[in-house]
């Protein structure tokens, strides 16, 4: 079984356990192993874009240096961790940025052995495992489920540094849902911002931004939404007023878990608002 160094990040250790647990268990079913890297630290949660604030890059540089001692790939799952680690790696590797890059590496005790390719879990499924193999492992396909894939900002922008997917109309999660037997719906706001961390001091703004996204998914006939960011999941799922027809907001790993046959107790459905288990049962998926 191929083993990957894995960076969970702080939120996945606490408030987004169901994103992490399903991912690890589903990986084993699909045929790879997430080996948590030792003594990781916070990625910083958001990329600091000022040109002179090198201190803000040290946390992610240390993680990358530690990871470089294990191998040349590092798998992430949280969209924010992925964004920060990938952008800092890109900054370190940028041609013409050698002086700053060397300075940053001297700030940390850990020796930086080599550039690390930061891979999102979805990239592992698509490019390392391959859709055919994922499809073969989906023994309980999500037949008939209409899903809106919500990527948010951090997975796709900035385009060059992340080189992940189309920043206007990303596809990788739609492809995964299709491979798992679901029907990805068209969805205009798949890469619109949910308001992100503005929830801390401007809950009203994050709530309005998130509601627009939910309404659009519903208008296109989605029955559920999937995401890979704990903060997107929170803003979409917890800021709204729950009603009977409200769309469940799943982590993509939860639906992957359903499709590869994880038990209900392994899906962490207590995390999601409403009655996600009842919903999945009503669709004949649990």
């Amino acid at each position: 079984m191929t083993k990957y160094a894995y960076y969970p990040g702080c939120t996945l250790y606490t408030k987004a356990r169901s994103l992490d647990i399903c991912a690890r268990k589903a990986a084993e079913k699909v045929g790879f192993e997430l080996a948590e890297m030792p003594s990781w630290n916070c990625c910083g949660a958001i990329y600091n874009a000022t040109s002179d604030d090198l201190a803000a890059q040290v946390g992610p540089v240390r993680n990358l240096a530690k990871a470089s001692q294990i191998g040349d790939k590092l798998v992430t799952l949280c969209a924010a961790c992925h964004n920060v680690l990938k952008r800092v790696q890109d900054r370190l590797d940028q041609p013409g940025n050698e002086v700053e890059s060397e300075r940053l590496k001297t700030f940390v005790d850990e020796k930086y052995e080599r550039p690390v390719k930061v891979l999102h879990y979805l990239e592992v499924l698509k490019n390392e495992v391959g859709w055919d193999k994922v499809k073969a492992k989906a023994t309980k396909p999500l037949a008939g489920l209409k899903v809106a894939s919500y990527y948010g900002c951090l997975m796709v922008r900035p385009r060059e540094a992340l080189s992940f997917d189309d920043p206007e109309n990303p596809q990788v999660m739609d492809d995964l849902m299709r491979v798992l037997g679901a029907e990805p719906t068209r969805f205009d706001f798949k890469a619109e911002c949910c308001g992100g961390y503005l929830v801390v001091n401007r809950r009203d703004v994050a709530k309005a931004a998130s509601q627009k996204i939910l309404d659009n998914a519903k208008a296109w006939g989605a029955e559920a939404i999937v995401t890979t960011c704990p903060l997107c999941q929170y803003n979409l799922d917890k800021l709204r007023v729950m009603t009977d027809g409200a769309l469940p907001v799943f982590y993509f790993t939860q639906l992957l878990g359903v499709a590869v046959g994880l038990g209900q107790d392994e899906l962490g459905l207590g995390h999601n608002s409403g009655d996600p288990a009842g919903f999945l049962k009503s669709k004949g998926l649990l």
Partner: protein
Amino acid sequence: MTTFHSSSELLEQIEALSGQDISDCYQCGCCTSGCPIGEAMDPPPSKAIRLLQLGRANELLDSEGIWMCASCLVCGTRCPRAVDYARIAEACRALVLRSRESKVDPDTVTAPELEEIPQQAFIAAFRKSSV
């Protein structure tokens, strides 16, 4: 109100911190029309850049708008002149924060919020908006 040096000095600092050339913007408004927070952002991206072009950087630094940008990067992704407004807003926030003025006070977070909101939001909000 934060007091800074002359607007031209400020503009130089904003350009250095953001890596953006303010004169690149030709005011097409693509950034503002795509901004998901645009309705709540005063001034919105294109107007903010216009203030800088007109030598009114102090007004931008005193505005609410720079604190509303969540760095979703839609504006810069769509800009036909490759101006990244999120980095300009970041530079403006940094200048205010470096004058020791916080926008978000961690002490105002309530216990239920602390219990519920993912910590990535707190870390991000405090890094962006607190000294």
